[in-house]
Amino acid sequence: MFAIIKLIQSLFGALHSEGTPGQLAAGIVLGSFLGLTPLLNIHNAVIFAALVLLNVSFAGGMLGWALFVPIGFLLDPLFDWIGHRLLLADALRGLWTGLYNTPIIPLTNFNNTVVLGSVVFAIVLAVPLFFATRLGVVRYRATIGERVRRSRFYKGVMASKAYNVYKMFRP
């Protein structure tokens, strides 16, 4: 329940934050990496650090993570297939062999079919996701955003103490 409330808080907090639509979209894109790819991998530590350090919407990142986790589970067979095709492609064998025998790189588990497939998918998805999200936020704020902000529901949700946690990282 707390997670759902927090997700809703994150959603509205992000949509009504002072951050620009671009910051919110960038946060969601970074969060999508966390959700789409298997979490316990070194590349996700880099993504998380970027989410914290870069001036993007952290709430958007959490929102993107939460939204894309189930999608990641659903698309695992597709990621496996993509990774398999890429890792066993004759044309790319030299690249993979070089990377596999380079320090640190193998710790990313890029040689796992699901990891590679999901990362490639997330990278390909990043640009359209960024622009689509940014457009969606702009349209939301221009149309129903103000009405939502004045609604009792919004005020009730944002009055929760959990909102304070979000405020620490708002852009």
């Binding site: 350090l53 496996d80 064998r93 062999t97 380079t102």
Partner: protein, 597 residues
């Protein structure tokens, strides 16, 4: 100059969120502390998990300590369960200390320069079932275990049916006898031949020719020598009779050939019956009297196990240590998300993914003995990428009454794996000899094992020798003839010498077992069971005859009948033709004095 209004300025977009650096660093510190606290535990769990997955049996570690700055990993209390036996360990080790290269760890490569293993013990008992692959059948170990079990099961020979001393006879199903359908088919063929011959005989139309010739003959009897028309008519009648006889001759030839085929069919029924006798004999559960078969029946189940186990480890080695440098895919790590596959990319002149350069082993072979003896061994070149390391894996062990060696040569496309061991002074457990009402306690014995798998060609030998065997009798079979016979045969034998050999293509090898008991048991069995076997065979033949004779007898009579009928019909018509022709020729000769050609 006035300052620009700050409200009209476009706010400068900050790229970094500097105030988050502190919390992030704090998080890193927390992660580092957690690593320091839990690294040993994580490494222990991961080692247990990977070891269990690779070997197909539980790997348990009491304590593990990583000292990465000094490149040392120490393990205390290692237990590896047996993949084949439920309540037995493959080995236990008091202590393992490994010198690890730290730098290759950044490439996820484990390079162990030296391992010192102390207090190794083999075959110790355990309280819980440690088998994993046998239960799940998953992973490489599960598949290899299933394959080797399947391979070993092809050698299961039927045990000697000696428990009761009776020769059992299975029921004889008439539908499985070949003679009966063959007789039915021959009967149908005979009927078909008879109808065909009758039709052919009808198409000869001998009646008009005979009637015409008879009429000509009557006319000729009253004719004079100058009646040329009558003489010409007579000659024409003779020609018609000759042509009719030619047709009869052709038919006769067909009948003769057809009858010969039917006779051959009747003879074929006899040979089919012989095959039915052989089939019926196969239903007799006769004990084999040949010494090699006796050796196989007595000791195959016991001697095949060492081969199966060695093959299991060799096949595991081939899966985990394949030759060549092609990318290799294995199942990825277990997690909530799909595991996928991990693909390894060995690179020429680079380090392999896993390598133990050398290991020194110190172990006890008889830990429970009053004075356990210490043995020593060594291992070198154990690697996941033999082509990169460039040398085969070699292991040796030696000590009092022990000599063992192993070489896994996976450097070339066709791997060659060799293992050999001679272990003396081992007390083997007593066991029931299959099919024989006696129990054998080999006592302290010497065992030898030699195993070579060159590509897919296997050459293996396993031998047990003991000079102080003890026999005990199965009380349930005390009063049976065979029980007495076997007991009298083996109870006086103090030596045991068993040798099993496997050779040939791995999938279909030849398996032979011989022992010093084979000849003795064979001779006694021949003497006692020979008459019983002959009686049982006679009984089986009588059963076949009783089922077959009802079908074969009528068919034989029918063929004879058809033959006689067809041949008589042909002979009769040919006789009439010949008789009329002779009469006509005689009359012409009487009238003209000329002998027709």
């Amino acid at each position: 100059m006035t300052a620009p209004d700050s409200r009209l300025q476009t706010p400068r977009l900050k790229v970094f969120r500097w105030r988050a650096v502190g919390p992030l660093l704090a998080l890193l510190v927390i992660v580092a502390i957690l690593w320091l606290v839990f690294a040993d535990s994580i490494a222990r769990h991961e080692s247990q998990r990977v070891g269990t997955q690779m070997l197909g049996a539980k790997v348990e570690i009491n304590d593990m300590h990583l000292d990465l700055p000094h490149g040392k990993v120490s393990i205390h209390g290692l237990t590896v369960a047996s993949p084949h036996e439920a309540f037995r360990n493959l080995l236990q080790a008091d202590e393992l200390v490994a010198d690890v290269d730290v730098v290759p760890l950044t490439e996820k490569k484990i390079i162990i320069n030296r391992i010192a293993a102390n207090g190794l013990r083999f075959g110790t008992p355990r309280h819980t079932d440690g088998r994993v692959a046998a239960g799940s059948g998953d992973g490489i170990a599960g598949r290899v275990l299933a394959e080797t079990h399947q391979w070993a099961s092809q050698f299961q020979v039927p045990v000697l049916q000696l428990a009761t001393g009776k020769i059992s006879i299975d029921s004889l199903d008439p539908r499985r006898l070949a003679t009966i359908p063959a007789a039915q088919a021959l009967s149908a063929r005979a009927d078909s031949s008879r109808r065909a011959w009758q039709a052919a005989f009808d198409t000869l139309r001998l009646g008009p020719s005979l009637d015409s010739a008879q009429a000509t003959l009557e006319k000729l009897r009253t004719a004079r020598a100058t009646d040329l028309a009558a003489l010409n008519e007579a000659r024409q009648a003779i020609d018609r009779l000759k042509r009719a006889r030619d047709r009869v001759t052709t038919l006769d030839r067909n009948v003769t050939q057809g009858v010969a085929k039917l006779k051959a069919g009747v003879a074929g029924l006899d040979s089919t019956r012989q095959r039915d006798y052989a089939f019926a004999r196969s239903l007799l559960k006769l004990p084999s009297f040949e010494p090699p078969e006796i050796g196989k029946a007595l000791f195959a189940p016991g001697t095949i196990k060492p081969f199966e186990r060695v093959l299991y480890y060799v096949q595991l080695a081939r899966r985990y240590m394949p030759p060549g440098l092609l990318p290799r895919a294995t199942t990825g790590p277990k997690r909530l998300r799909r595991a996928g596959e991990d693909v390894r990319f060995p690179k020429e002149h680079d380090l392999p993914g896993f390598l133990v350069r050398s290991a020194e082993l110190s172990f006890l072979l008889h830990p429970t003995a009053p004075q356990p003896q210490r043995y020593a061994g060594s291992l070198s070149g154990l690697t996941s990428d033999p082509a990169l390391y460039g040398r085969p894996t070699v292991a040796t062990a030696s000590g009092p009454e022990l000599g063992a060696g192993l070489m896994l040569n996976h450097l070339r496309d066709i791997p060659v794996d060799t293992a050999g061991a001679t272990v003396g002074g081992i007390r083997l457990p007593a066991f029931e000899v299959p099919g024989v009402p006696v129990r054998l306690d080999p006592g302290v014995a010497t065992t030898q094992l030699g195993f070579t798998l060159n590509g897919d060609t296997v050459q293996a030998r396993f031998a047990i020798r003991s000079s102080n065997v003890r026999w005990s009798r199965d009380s349930a079979l005390t009063n049976t003839t065979i029980g007495d016979l076997i007991w009298r045969t083996v109870s006086g034998i103090a030596n045991l010498d068993v040798e099993a050999r496997i050779s040939g293509e791995l999938q279909h090898p030849t398996f032979a077992v011989r022992s010093n008991l084979d000849q003795a048991i064979s001779t006694r069995l021949r003497a006692v069971l020979g008459e019983q076997v002959a009686g049982a065979e006679k009984q089986m033949r009588a059963r076949v005859d009783s089922l077959v004779n009802d079908k074969v007898g009528p068919v034989r009579a029918r063929v004879n009948d058809i033959q006689a009928q067809a041949q008589a019909q042909v002979a009769q018509q040919r006789g009439r033709l010949d008789d009329l022709q002779k009469q006509l020729e005689q009359r012409i000769r009487d009238l003209t004095g000329i002998r027709l050609p």
